[in-house]
């Protein structure tokens, strides 16, 4: 079976048709730079011994994460995973809070109760991932179920890796979504590796998006290094879901450009593969596109990159000022209190 393969976006006209103006285009670029910057800086902090535990990055996945998040509406919800820092950034998390999270400080979104990318700000419509993959996928389906019960024009986005696609949660979530035509978009970050496991040991079909047909909805494969193509496909899928057209499975193809986590040198990934995909680096690719199609000038670019650099420097400084949690707070918050349900989205 062949699923649809998304076309690249080549002109500014197509971009406009997809609903982006020039300012949006530059925002996308900034979000990608901030995303990569956070993870590069995090890596350094980790090597300096300032980040306990482990450290994961989504290098190579910036376009995919930012592209999808840009297509989401402000009232939509999502469950981003460990390669999707770009989603947090695009939806507006302040970078200093992410560094605080990395370093186990009280100002991280989890206040030191959880580490690395296991975080989210629910005020931004995001739900914090758990380690168990892809447990958040059927949770996003539950958000979509609530939207459908209440007849709201809102959409949930569920991210999952191609490795985690093997687990039953994926099936149960997609099946329920298909049966009930729920407003949910499934985004498979197919970065070709699940830790050291290549795709041919993870699934036996050509494209994971082929599976969509088995659940009664549409599947599409998109080049995950092309932020505008990702954006356009995500926008289509999200608006289709919003209009009652049911789920879509978007398979976004990338390569995980680093090891599974900092401890892993990815010796099992052929060097040529890294070289091939390095030439398709999503940020470099988009930068070139912006210069060729959107007249991004040297000054504009300098201003942008300078701004990002300052943002990150300030963020790290501020995060380092954030205190470590008091051991006396260990047992705080195991159970919620009734007042906590007074938040806008719980009312």
């Amino acid at each position: 079976m062949a699923v649809r393969e998304a076309e690249p976006i080549t002109s500014l006209r197509e971009v406009k048709e997809a609903g982006l103006d020039r300012e949006d285009l530059l925002d996308i670029y900034r979000h990608m730079l901030v995303t990569r910057g956070i993870e590069e800086r995090g890596h350094i902090l980790y090597k300096q011994g300032k980040i306990p535990g482990s450290f994961y990055t989504g290098r190579g996945n910036e376009a995919s994460a930012v592209g999808v998040a840009t297509a989401m509406g402000p009232d939509d919800w999502g469950t981003p995973l460990h390669r999707d820092m770009g989603v947090h950034v695009t939806r507006g998390v302040e970078p200093w809070r992410i560094f605080a999270q990395y370093m186990g400080r009280v100002d991280g979104p989890t206040k030191g109760k959880d580490g690395n990318v296991h975080m989210a700000d629910s005020n931004l419509g995001l739900i914090a991932m758990v380690s168990h993959l892809p447990a958040m996928l059927p949770v996003a389906v539950g958000c979509a179920l609530a939207f459908r019960i209440r007849n709201e024009r809102r959409v949930a986005v569920a991210w999952f890796g191609e490795g985690a696609a093997a687990r039953g949660d994926t099936h149960e979530g997609m099946n329920l979504a298909g049966v009930r035509r729920l407003p949910v978009v499934f985004v498979c970050d197919n970065n070709q590796w699940a830790y050291s496991t290549p795709t041919y040991l993870g699934y036996g079909i050509e494209h994971l998006a082929d599976r969509a047909a088995a659940y009664g909805f549409e599947g599409v494969v998109v080049d995950g290094t092309d932020v505008l193509a990702v954006y356009r496909e995500a926008k289509r899928a999200i608006e289709k879901a919003r209009e009652g057209g049911g789920p879509t499975l978007i398979e976004s193809l990338t390569l995980r450009m680093e090891g599974h986590a900092v401890h892993d040198d990815a010796f099992y990934v052929p060097r040529e593969l890294f070289e091939e995909w390095a030439r398709k680096d999503p940020i470099e690719r988009y930068r070139t596109w912006l210069r060729e199609n959107a007249d991004m000038s040297d000054e504009e670019e300098d201003e942008l990159t300078g701004g990002v650099k300052k943002l990150l420097n300030d963020a790290i400084r501020r995060a380092e000022e954030s205190p470590l949690p008091d051991p006396d707070t260990l047992a705080h918050g195991v159970y919620a209190t009734p007042e906590e349900l007074d938040t806008p989205h719980h009312k």
Partner: protein, 341 residues
């Protein structure tokens, strides 16, 4: 006030909450037209429609995970497991996601999972279990085990109101057998407060769920021996009413902990350990535990009868405590506690 079965009380509570609060919805296998395997939601779909009484595919993971997602965006989901046993398929979503989300991410998950549990009908290894202690061990979950119709209603409403994930263990053997007066109006029974099912002086039984009635039968037998038994119905095992248990133990100085779940690592062990830690000097006899043996729940009636604690087993245990161990008071000896003072 009207006399109702335990099952009716649960059904009424749920219907009342759904009428009162648009956010409450029901999801589970065959809960719609069929009304659920035990008919708790019979007639609900006619009243509330297919989007508030949702027939799910056979997917416990999707049911519980779906409830979690829906709760996070403002709903008050009530899931039904067709049998409590099938909750094992949703283990991850209760223990990994729902239980920890508040602690780690500050996001409350107000869901209720209803679990028709317990044996006594030759349901065999997969339709008879009482898995409450497995979940009581998971920080972040609450485990409620009502024994009476009145409690079933008040605790279910409390569970729906609660901002945390609550597992509601409803005992199948009580569904149609147990009747009682149930107030018509809406009320809640606080989760974590025990109830004295029977007041007594000589021995305490700490138990919950269907075993409350087994203990009650045994207590009646002991009346003939002039032994007065107090029965503390815990009503919930997480949180559990430590204060009420210790108070009763201090009064009677002898305690039998009883549950239908298997013995090793069963919740009774936690209760016994707590009594030993905090009321050792008030005890006049070793703490006694009666529970199912460490086996799967067997199918054939004589085997199942041997598995589930029976009235005679409990009566024998009570007699042993009452007769083999004297009270310090009876011996007119100062108890270690009064010596202290």
């Amino acid at each position: 006030m009207a006399e109702k079965t335990y099952l009716q009380a649960i059904s009424d509570a749920l219907r009342q909450e759904m009428r009162r609060d648009q956010r409450v919805f029901v999801i589970g296998e065959d809960v719609g037209v069929y009304g659920g395997a035990f008919k708790v939601t019979l007639g609900f779909q006619e009243e509330f429609g297919p989007w508030r009484v949702i027939d799910s595919p056979l997917s416990e993971t999707a049911i519980v995970a779906g409830c979690t997602g829906a709760a996070i965006v403002g709903m008050r989901p009530v899931a039904e497991m067709q049998f409590a046993d099938f909750v094992s398929c949703a283990w991850d979503h209760l223990t990994t996601v729902a239980a920890k989300q508040r602690y780690r991410a500050g996001t409350p998950v107000p869901i209720v999972v209803r679990l028709p549990s317990g044996g006594g009908f030759s349901g065999g290894p997969f339709h008879s279990q009482n898995p409450e202690s497995s979940f009581a061990h998971i920080a972040g979950l609450k485990c409620v085990c009502p024994a009476t119709p009145e409690d079933a209603k008040g605790l279910l409403i409390a569970a729906i109101e609660d901002p945390n994930p609550v597992l509601f263990f409803e005992h199948k053997h009580l569904y149609r057998r147990i009747k009682g007066e149930v107030p018509d109006e809406r009320y809640t029974v606080p989760i974590g407060k025990a109830r004295t099912h029977r007041a007594g002086e000589d021995v305490t039984v700490v138990t919950w769920g269907a075993m409350v009635y087994t203990a009650d039968e045994a207590a009646k037998q002991l009346e003939a021996d002039d032994v007065s038994v107090e029965i503390v119905d815990l009503r919930s095992v997480m949180p559990w009413d430590k204060g009420a248990v210790l108070e009763s133990v201090r009064k009677t100085s002898k305690v039998l902990v009883l549950h239908e779940d298997t013995r090793t690592g069963g919740f009774g062990a936690e209760i016994a350990a707590t009594i030993a830690e905090e009321a050792f000097e008030d005890l006049d006899a070793p703490i006694k535990r009666i529970a199912a043996p460490d086996t799967p729940v067997p199918f054939s009636p004589p085997l199942e009868k041997a598995f589930i604690p029976q009235v005679d087993d409990v009566a024998a245990g009570l007699r042993e405590l009452a007769q083999n161990y004297m009270n310090c008071l009876d011996l007119a000896l100062p108890s270690p506690r009064t010596q202290d003072a």
